[in-house]
């Protein structure tokens, strides 16, 4: 196949251009990988999409039921609530994690003595296991946990809450843990963006009479748009499909107040054995991620282009 061609090509007069050989060989080599990825990812996704239109317990044959699963998602308060929770959680998470990551990046881009250590410290949360850290946080946020103890010791009794047991604050508590976990990542993304901005631009603006805030708003921020595009898109996808932290902290409770599409998919599929309904929820989640990410990328690219 390829080896004889190479030998022939080395003989004068045999018309197998080296360029064709170079491009053809890697393609052949990639076929097993491409096939596996195709079967594992796309065929499974499409098959999952088909199960969304069936009722199936995982044992008997699936029965086609049309759009019934989707109608149930949007009419059942539990699933619709999970959809709303997912969007709210993702929105607050994206806003929080990007603002905090950006603030950390700006701070740690300055000439600080402990810069390297602080960067490593803030990034350390990213490499920690989300399940393990969530269990630590569930201890910290418990009704009699250290956070409430500290608040009490500071005389802030009004701020003491049952952080993970009170439906009014549970979702935001989960959000807080997620922001803590991922702000190191967004910090690194924004930091890399900040480091691509030539120092002279800020110096020129400084000499031109710009205050620190104006320099950040008018020079750094617009030039950070490429980094922001990556960071916002990535954190949106993370926020929409979060499972580990929610499941470890609240399991979707109390009273479904922290139930998200990802936890619903898990419960409906593997706890209640409703594989068809779970597939429909997964389809809605995938569509949601695709839709929001696409809109976001388009908007960010538009503003990015305006700034370039």
């Amino acid at each position: 196949m390829t080896a004889p061609q190479r030998l022939d090509a080395e003989k004068p007069g045999v018309a197998v251009p080296a360029k064709t050989l170079r491009t053809r060989v890697p393609l052949w080599w990639a076929i097993p990988g491409i096939t596996l990825a195709f079967l594992y990812h796309y065929v499974a996704t499409v098959a999952g999409g088909w199960y969304a239109f069936t009722t199936w317990d995982g044992l008997s044959d699936p029965v086609f039921i049309g759009l019934d699963n989707f109608i149930e998602i949007f009419s059942s308060p539990k699933s619709y609530g999970a959809l709303i929770n997912t969007v709210v959680l993702a929105f607050v998470f994206v806003a929080g994690v990007n603002l905090i990551g950006l603030a950390l990046a700006v701070w740690l881009n300055a000439n600080l003595k402990l810069r390297g250590f602080l960067r490593a410290l803030f990034f350390a949360t990213v490499v920690m296991n989300p399940l393990a850290t969530s269990y630590i946080w569930s201890y910290l946020l418990a009704a009699t946990g250290p956070i409430n103890i500290v608040l009490g010791a500071l005389g802030l009794h009004g701020l003491q809450k049952v952080w993970l047991g009170d439906p009014s604050v549970a979702l935001m508590s989960v959000c807080l843990v997620m922001i803590w976990q991922y702000s190191g990542l967004t910090m690194v993304l924004y930091l890399s963006g900040l480091q691509t901005i030539p120092v002279e631009l800020n110096e020129a603006a400084e000499v031109d009479g710009a205050s620190a805030w104006r320099r950040f708003r008018k020079i750094s921020l617009p030039l950070l748009m490429p980094a922001a595009t990556v960071s916002i898109t990535y954190t949106t996808i993370t926020g929409l499909r979060v499972f580990d932290q929610v499941y470890a902290l609240t399991r979707g409770g109390p009273n479904y107040s922290t139930e998200t599409l990802a936890t619903s998919i898990f419960k409906e599929t593997f706890v209640y054995g409703r594989f068809g309904y779970g597939a429909a929820l997964a389809t809605v989640l995938t569509a949601l991620i695709l839709l929001i990410s696409l809109v976001q990328i388009l908007l960010l690219r538009l503003s990015d282009r305006r700034f370039q």
Binding site: E200, A204, A205, G209, I219, Q308
Partner: protein, 388 residues
Amino acid sequence: MVQINFKDVAKRYADGTDAVRSLNIDVRDGEFLVMVGPSGCGKTTALRMVAGLESITGGELVAGNRVINNLAPRDRNFAMVFQNYALYPHMTIFENIAFPLECEGVAKAEIKKRVEHVVGMLDLEPHLYRKPKSLSGGQRQRVAMGRAVIRRPHAFLMDEPLSNLDAKLRVQMRSEITQLQHDLGTTTLYVTHDQVEAMTMGDRIAVMNKGVLQQVGTPLEIYERPLNMFVAAFVGSPSINLLSARLERTGDGVICVVGEQRFGIGATPELEAWIDRGIVFGVRPEDVSLRSDAAGKGATLKAEFVLSEMVPPEQLVHLDLGADVVVAATEEFDGDGTPRNLQNGKIIARIPSEYAISPGTGEWAIRKGHFFDPANGALIASVRFDLN
């Protein structure tokens, strides 16, 4: 417009490196002063200290009778043009030029009026709403100038603004910047490593080396009467020929001995103390001419013709004075500012290109020479030789 005074200004970094040592320069109101020197001589650091981008670790920097050592850059009202222009890539040319006025809070109508005036002056109207990346190097340079000019600053600070341009454009922009500065009469501090730029643009030139100011003077003063070997060698292209020499008394006069060759230099009081001592004799290439071209006696050196480089209307003639003559390598100076010695006897003469040089050894006349102290490089005397 403002006068800027460096009073023993120094910059020492945390690691102990002295970038600028005890700098004393008075930049006059409305003057175009060029700071020139090789890489790492401290000229850019000095400029950045004036801009407020670099802290001052010693001395006082005074602008208009006010010490500005600790004043924030935005409060100094200086405009700076950077080596790479530092144009804001996400802003249009209009927005770039208007930025300093926006920072001052000038009304939009006034900004528009002033930007239009500046772009008219700099011939940038067709590009007003384009981004910097779509402009050529020369146009970007003009935008940077526009951004500096628009706020009517006390002074312009320019950090090698022409170094990114090609040779032809550099010549054009050189005259444009000089003309603009003359028209506006704004005090200008200009940093360059290019001696031609320094000589052609500056009202005065400050030559720096290793953080130390070597000499301040008009271009002609610097060229005609360099205060030390470094200045003599840095200014002028090709560089000055520096030869190890010895002075001897003969009868009623003084003679200079270069290798085995001798020539009279007349009575010069400054050189009396150097008789029977080693000295460095410097002669610029254009002060070496064909003997037949310089009638009469005067200073003469015998040299063998090596080769000629034609650069019409001139030619650079490479001559060999003999292997026993020690010639200083002017491109490489030791830490104390004295040149490293080479025992090769090679010198360069610059003469009109129409002269044909015959091969072999000939006599070459010296019109003018500078004598330097070999220990510290200081100028002892500049002597014009009598050619008649």
